[in-house]
């Protein structure tokens, strides 16, 4: 009994440690006082100011469009690559898998500065396009790693059957193979999407002047000190993530059924 209580208390303390900071941000986003830490009344002022801040809105726009474009592109390239890798001879497969693990193992800061060096060497103008290229680069491996297991589970006779029954290879892919591996493709896409949304390090080094993502914007805001606007922003993001996660969970349990 005492042991059980101890365990519950320990778990409780750890969860408080994990969530207290987030909770404090949420509470402070409704606090009327700007500088003092104490509570001086409920307000939605910071949310209004947030909405009026054009740089934040444009950062939000960049973050989402880059995340969507990069994860879509990465999903297409990555899924094709995974199918290709599956059909390779063991040696070529080993080479490709090592290349795939490279960005997974490499510290983000090294990915960031090495891409910066590449873009400068190629005389690319740093900005939206370089950000997009960088995001696709670190996204593809995660798509491949999510899709590969599904391809291994695939029954090889399915495609043959489709082809025997007169489907073109393209039809066989879209009508037979793709639906079978769809769960992996969707997981890969979502993984890539969230990685893109959350990325700071790589974006920080590969963006140019004037093009911000949310993470970069938050970074520059923290440099100016603590601002209640960031608290409001975190609250919105946290609730967004929470709803996304609940939807995903729902999806996962639907698949299981």
């Amino acid at each position: 009994m005492v042991k059980k209580l101890c365990k519950a208390a320990y778990a409780g303390i750890i969860y408080v440690f994990l969530y207290l900071p987030i909770l404090v941000l949420i509470v402070y986003s409704f606090n009327d006082s700007k500088y003092r830490g104490n509570w001086s009344g409920f307000t939605l002022r910071w949310y209004q100011e947030l909405m009026r801040d054009r740089t934040i809105i444009s950062a939000l726009y960049n973050t989402f469009t880059i995340a969507i474009l990069a994860s879509l592109l990465a999903t297409v390239i990555g899924t094709a690559a995974a199918i290709g890798i599956h059909h390779m001879k063991p040696r070529a497969k080993a080479v490709f898998m090592n290349i795939t693990y490279l960005p997974v193992m490499n510290p983000d800061i090294v990915i960031g500065i090495s891409l910066l060096a590449l873009f400068v060497w190629l005389k690319f103008k740093l900005g939206y396009i370089t950000l997009l290229l960088a995001h696709v680069t670190f996204n593809i491996p995660y798509v491949i790693l999510a899709v590969l297991p599904k391809i291994y589970q695939l029954n090889p006779h399915l495609e043959e059957a489709a082809l025997d029954l007169g489907a073109t290879p393209l039809q066989a892919f879209f009508k037979v193979i793709l639906p079978e591996i769809m769960a992996g493709v969707v997981t890969g896409f979502l993984l890539a999407f969230t990685l893109s949304l959350d990325d700071f390090m790589v974006s920080f080094f590969t963006t140019g002047s004037g093009v911000n993502t949310l993470s970069i914007k938050i970074y520059s805001m923290t440099k100016l000190g603590v601002s209640p606007k960031i608290n409001a922003l975190s609250t919105i993001l946290f609730i967004g993530v929470l709803s996304l996660l609940i939807i995903l969970q729902q999806r996962a349990s639907n698949i299981k059924e």
Binding site: P21, G84, L102, I113, A117, T222, N231, L242
Partner: protein, 279 residues
């Protein structure tokens, strides 16, 4: 149709955007520097030599120290937690795991920034301590070694808990029962059976905490306030402020080599699927 050709676009992409950049960094790290700081393609080992100066060795030492401390702290805090989760009922377990994953999905910078709000002089912790009368003057909590350590533990704790949990939850319970039947006291069951079997998870967790901790510059920047210079800060500074790309590249190469060595050593001890698939 030969299906392996489907990998060609990816192959080209990886060649251009994954491999070529590393090669460029490798070449730069051996290049000389002109009077204006431009890159001259002339071989030199000076950039690596420079790293041996005491000031930079100190940075390396501090980075490794902080990363080691945070890995140990995550292990000590995380292992009991992973055990508690693994021993819960399945329904409870899923919720507990979910609660560990959720913070990972909120923006990393915001999570770190939250600690700035808590730790600063007029922050929640200081106000609370003054309110209950333990202290009169606010404590200097922010911008210190310990603040950076706290930030690392906070951000990376789930990386330790999840792989250990993943191994513990798959542990063959009959082994534990056999040890108990043969008369081993609980601490011996733990030390001789459970812990050794959970090692692959511990090692995955340690890698997943150590690697981001040793290469971060954000946590040290926000919570250390420029007082705590780590390898990541040094690289960032050389590339964006000091404009000494050759030296920055050399430090990056050293970091890559350090990580390759760590991976090489640990991969021997790591069984298949040591929890990496959680991510």
């Amino acid at each position: 149709m030969k299906k392996q050709w489907l990998s060609v676009p990816y192959g080209i992409w990886a060649l251009v955007f994954s491999i070529a950049p590393i090669l460029i960094i490798a070449v730069y790290s051996f290049c000389s520097r002109s009077a204006y700081g431009n890159i001259i393609y002339e071989f030199t080992a000076e950039n690596y030599g420079k790293f041996l100066e005491p000031i930079y060795i100190n940075v390396l030492w501090r980075s490794v120290l902080l990363a080691t401390q945070s890995t140990l702290a995550c292990f000590i805090l995380g292992y009991p937690m992973a055990m508690i989760i693994a021993k819960s009922t399945i329904k409870k377990r899923n919720i507990m795991v979910m609660l560990f994953v959720l913070p990972l999905w909120t923006n990393f910078l915001l999570r770190t920034y939250a600690w700035m709000v808590l730790l600063r002089d007029q922050g929640v912790i200081n106000q609370f301590l003054i309110y209950i009368g333990i202290i009169d003057e606010p404590l200097k909590l922010l911008y210190s070694h310990n603040a950076v350590l706290l930030g690392m533990v906070y951000n990376f704790l789930p990386f330790m808990v999840l792989p250990i949990y993943s191994v513990l939850s798959k542990l063959d319970n009959s082994l534990v029962e056999a040890a108990e039947d043969l008369g081993a006291p609980p601490w011996q069951v733990f030390l001789k059976v459970i812990f050794p079997l959970s090692l692959p998870g511990v090692i995955s967790g340690a890698i997943m905490v150590f690697m981001p901790a040793v290469s971060t510059f954000v946590i040290s920047d926000l919570l250390g306030g420029g007082q705590t210079v780590l390898l990541g800060n040094l690289i960032q500074n050389q590339f964006l402020v000091a404009r000494n790309w050759q030296f920055g590249s050399a430090i990056s190469m050293i970091m890559i080599i350090m990580i390759l060595i760590t991976m090489g050593i640990t991969s021997k001890y790591q069984g298949e699927g040591g929890g990496r698939q959680l991510w």
